[in-house]
Amino acid sequence: MNAELQMKPPVEVRYRQELEALKNSDTGKKPLNWQLSPRAVRTFILGSSKPVHGKDGDVEITRKYYGNDTLVERCIVTLAGNRGLMLVGEPGTAKTMLSELLSAAVSGVSTNTIQGTAGTTEDMIKYSWNYALLLDRGPSREALVPSPLYVGMEKGIITRFEEITRTPAEIQDSMISVMSDKVLNIPELGDEGLLFARPGFNVIGTANTRDKGVNEMSSALKRRFNFETVLPVRDVALEKQIIVQEVSKLAQENQIEMEVDEDVAELLASTYHELREGVSSYGHRIDRPAAVMSTAEAVSVFYQTMITGYYYDDGQISVDCMVQNLLGAVAKENRDDLEKVRGYFNTVIKDKSSREGGLWTRYYEARKWLR
């Protein structure tokens, strides 16, 4: 499918140029079946200060993941080793993005994915059958419908398992022997029923620790993974930078020709940061809302505000609209959160408005929408 026709093209399509340039100039040692060397994978995710020579000229490698560089390094080394990689953390901490980036850089493809839900069954993880062919020809490779795990083992690429903790514990456990023996048994195929994983195969799981409806992983499965805990961004300036960058990317993809207002982004970043940390930059103590205050949420609030401005307000971003969107994002689970946000406006934003004026005052006046 043409990239322009996709709502959200996969990472390997979006960054094709960068990946090709890195491949072109990569001189490092590669684990078997990897597209890039570990060092080049690192560069792809964390960016490089110098452009990289591609076939069609120099390509700048942008930083795609912010926060913890050593975590990315550990992830890469884990994937080259014998264990799977499990990214855990609160919602909206860019676990999925990191897992996509890693598999696109390592295997050249980020779409070999199992999307875990409460309804996921063992055959979705391993394999199922095309019953027409099965009846016609009996159990054979042609009649078998491979799962992403099967594909990963067969081709020696990475299989992503999204939201692994949402699948029931016994279904999760069907991964255990595959992860340790690197072989999948298909008894229906008789003597040919053994699928040995090719080098390069590995699993990146993502799991949520804070949501309702997640299942604890068994310790046997835990032992097959190295865990990396992804923490929310702790730095306001960095959070602002992420908002600006992500929103620009979204705008570009959706052909919205509008500049990202950095001041407004800062406003939003500090709101999210302060509500998450429970303390303002002036030192006010703040009641923290129960809802998840992730950077990803902030990006979506900002982007929503921006497209409203683009389509309805002649390309002007409105603080009022942002407060309305903020309300929608925060007051999801219970009404108490609304009170907490209102309290935040009446203390922190009020104070900032009187000290700094300008945009902060407009922001403070927009509190009327919090109802």
């Binding site: 570990p38 964390l46 050593t70 080394v77 884990t78 080793g81 190295n226």
Partner: protein, 788 residues
């Protein structure tokens, strides 16, 4: 290499810039001495510690140990406060300074310290900077100079390192081991120059760096006058500064001239943990046990010391986790090792180091989301990297006099030292002179906060509790921290006793309240510090005179009275009389102002009045009696006087014959016939009255009748409100007196006292009924609840 003209010859000076805790620097400095064989070795460090060098390099001395410096600013050179200062200079096996000293000693090369003495450094440092930062433990080591500039922060960012220590490990510790010496030194110097250039000169001045460097340069110059080859081992940050000074020619410097007796310098066994905790101030290197292993690896000529230390670390942490309740397999350790290897490759490091070890434990040993419940492996790792090793000094080591005194006394009193098991001792402090001495000694150790001993039972003068006890039971436990704590206070004096006196005087200066002063006096009393007491005594006097708080002075008075009472038992010669007199006068002056005292403080105030009255009853204070009574009279004359206090004071005045029974009765009637609010105060008044003059009830017939009239006037609600106060009022009487009062009360209603005791008979039928009722209730409760 610099050359200095030395008579006809030219002296060679070589500079070895070092970081204080660094195996690579230690390795290179040792090799340099071996190969170059200098005529003298000069080491950065306060020069007054030079005499300790033979002990430091003695084969029986084992690192970690620290040089302990103390300075008593008796002349006020540092600041007007004339405070006491102290700091530590820790050494590990891999400290380049120690490696240099050991190597020099092994080759018979003279070595000495060349920095300003500790006191001189302090005079050059602005308050709150460098060695005058307020922290608990000041560290002479100033490696933080290398790590703090903006330049270094940017460098770490660029190199993808999380902090300076990781950067250092990669470029200097690991790469440095494989570089030839001259390259290593030139890299060090380049780096240190950069760090120095991004530090403002004013800051160097304020932290005393410039003066120190001038002094060190001068020492090097002097050495160059008499030696052909001079090796100067100094902190990397200072080396470029010293080189510049020497290039300019003769170095001039004016010293303050600190008196020798104000400075103390001792060696002290130290622990790895203390070395690591010093790193809280970003000085020195983290993970002492890890780098100790590296150093041992280097000494043993291992090819990949870091690799080996990481592997050992993973195995050791794995074992520690398993010993706890963590589940960890050998396979986890294998994965951890391959993670460390992989990370080292990815990060372009020669070998995995401490940071790869950390990352691999985090990644391979922590199962599930990383939080408090899962971070046991990381805690184990922290403990492993820090280590538990402690140092030891050889027999020739000079022990601080206070520790000598401590050990002498322990021996004399047969207190067990050298074992860390807890011991218990019972002391008959009043019957045995020796036991009293032991008790004094233990009290002194408590006062110095050594953590050596704790009183389990015995008279508690501070809380005024258990004064009837005649024995003290103490628990004590010897350990290395006791020695460290004693060394900490060694700046106060050469014996435990002296230190206590100095400490007592110092805290006296800090505390100004009369109560605190008197409380301190009780401790001085327990410690038996009588000969040295005069100064403390004067301070208490001043504190009492300055104190204007009634309760504080009153509290002080009660402590003083206590001391006077116990003086004989404790065989103390403290003369409390003058102090008591001060309190007495002060309280007399403050007393009239207390008339309107709050309800909750009535009791305390009444207590003070009674004590004062009792005190002036004694011959020694009879002269104060009149003034006191006048103060009491002035209380009664005030309008809104607290009823309890009013009663109490009138009771005293009645006892002194200044009030007649008639006067008292009038006042009682006044309360009783007053408005409702006044009536409600009457119980409180009686309470006060009975507190000081309970015999009033038994003189004549008046008071019981008066009270009866009062009670009859009350409605039941008011009676219930007043009841607690009445109960309180009568609690001052003895059972026999209560019996007597009851008799009087009965007589008012034409009853005899005996009749009060006559009980009405209860028939067996009533008991039986009660029993059955009880049984019925029990059975009903026991029945299961049927049908809801």
């Amino acid at each position: 290499m610099d050359q200095v003209l030395r008579g006809q010859e030219v002296a060679e000076i070589r500079y070895m810039p070092v970081r204080h805790h660094s195996p690579a620097c230690a390795y290179h400095v040792r090799q340099l001495i071996r190969e170059w064989e200098p005529d003298c070795v000069l080491i950065e460090g306060p020069e007054n510690a030079s005499r300790l060098i033979p002990v430091m390099v003695h084969q029986d001395t084992a690192a970690p140990f620290a040089i302990y410096y103390s300075y008593r600013d008796s002349k006020g050179y540092v600041s007007e406060e004339k405070a006491d200062y102290r700091c530590y200079y820790p050494f590990l096996d891999y400290s380049p300074e120690l490696a240099a000293l050991r190597e020099a000693a092994a080759r018979g090369i003279p070595a000495r310290f060349i920095d300003l003495s500790y006191g001189e450094i302090l005079t050059a440092v602005r308050e709150g900077k460098g060695l005058r930062q307020g922290g608990e433990k000041n560290n002479y080591n100033d490696d933080y100079l290398l790590a703090r500039s903006a330049y270094i922060r940017r460098l770490c960012e660029k190199a993808g390192m999380r902090n300076f220590d990781e950067l250092w490990e990669k470029f200097f510790e690991q790469n440095g081991l494989y570089e030839d010496r001259d390259t290593f030194i030139s890299h060090m110097l380049d780096y240190c120059r950069q760090a120095r250039e991004s530090t403002p000169r004013e800051e160097l001045e304020e932290e005393g760096c410039l003066k120190r460097e001038r002094y060190m340069a001068r020492c090097i110059q002097e050495a160059a006058g008499s030696c052909r080859r001079v090796l100067a081992v100094t902190g990397g940050f200072h080396t470029p500064g010293i080189q510049e000074l020497l290039a300019e020619g003769d170095v001039k410097l004016k010293l303050t001239g600190i008196p020798e007796q104000d400075q103390g310098v001792f060696l002290l066994p130290y622990s790895m943990e203390a070395c690591a905790s010093l790193n809280g101030y970003a000085s020195g290197m983290p993970y002492p046990a890890f780098y100790q292993q590296i150093w041992e690896g280097i000494e043993a000529g291992r090819e990949r010391p870091y690799d080996e230390a990481v592997l050992n670390g993973l195995a050791a942490v794995g074992k520690m986790v398993r010993k706890g309740d963590g589940l960890l397999s050998s396979y986890d350790e294998i994965c951890g090792y391959s993670m460390a290897q992989g990370l080292a490759g990815l990060r372009n490091k020669r070998e995995p180091g401490a940071y790869e070890l950390y990352d691999s434990v985090l990644s391979s040993f922590v199962k599930g989301a990383w939080d408090l419940s899962t971070d046991q492996p990381l805690r184990c790792l922290q403990a492993y990297l820090t280590g538990r090793q402690t140092g030891k000094l050889c027999d020739q080591a000079e022990v601080p006099p206070i520790i000598q005194d401590f050990e002498k006394q322990c021996k004399a009193y047969k207190l067990k030292t050298g074992t860390t098991l807890e011991q218990e001792i019972t002391l008959d402090i009043f019957s045995s002179e020796k036991h009293r001495q032991v008790s004094m000694f233990l009290n002194q150790l408590v006062f110095l906060e050594t953590g050596f001993c704790k009183k389990k039972r015995g008279p508690d003068l501070q809380k005024k509790k258990d004064r009837n006890l005649i024995r003290e039971i103490w628990r004590y436990k010897w350990n290395a921290q006791v020695l460290a704590a004693l060394t900490d206070v060694s700046v106060y004096g050469a014996t435990v006793r002296e230190a206590c006196t100095a400490r007592a005087l110092q805290s006296m200066k800090e505390k100004t309240g009369g109560k605190e002063a008197a409380l301190l006096l009780t401790r001085v009393f327990e410690m038996g510090l009588e000969e040295q007491l005069e100064l403390v005594y004067g301070q208490v006097q001043r504190a009492l005179l300055e104190d204007e708080d009634f309760y504080s002075v009153a509290e002080a008075l009660s402590y003083l009275v206590l001391l006077r009472e116990m003086g004989e038992l404790y065989q103390s010669s403290i003369d409390t009389e003058p102090l008591l007199l001060i309190c007495l006068r002060k309280l007399t002056a403050l007393l009239p102002g207390m008339a309107g005292v709050q309800e909750e403080q009535t009791q305390a105030c009444m207590q003070v009045c009674k004590t004062l009255c009792q005190l002036t009853g004694q011959e020694a204070y009879a002269g104060e009696r009149e003034a006191l009574y006048q103060a009491f009279v002035r209380i009664t004359e005030q309008r809104d006087v607290n009823p309890g206090l009013d009663g109490c004071v009138r009771g005293i005045l009645y006892g002194a014959g200044l009030h007649s029974l008639e006067d008292i009765r009038k006042v009682c009637a006044g309360y009783l016939t007053g408005t409702h609010d006044q009536l409600m105060k009457s119980a409180s008044f009686f309470r006060g009255l009975f507190y000081t003059a309970r015999d009033l009830v038994f003189t004549g017939d008046g008071l019981v009748g008066t009270m009866d009239r009062l009670i009859r006037r009350l409605d039941s609600q008011s009676f219930m409100e007043l009841l607690p106060e009445f109960r309180m009022a009568f609690s001052y009487f003895t059972p026999r007196e209560i019996d007597q009062i009851a008799g009087q009360a009965a007589a008012l209603y034409g009853r005899k006292k005996k009749e009060l005791f006559a009980l009405k008979e209860v028939t067996p039928a009533v008991y039986d009924y009660g029993r059955r009722l009880d049984q019925l209730a029990v059975s009903m409760l026991a029945e299961p609840d049927e049908g809801g």
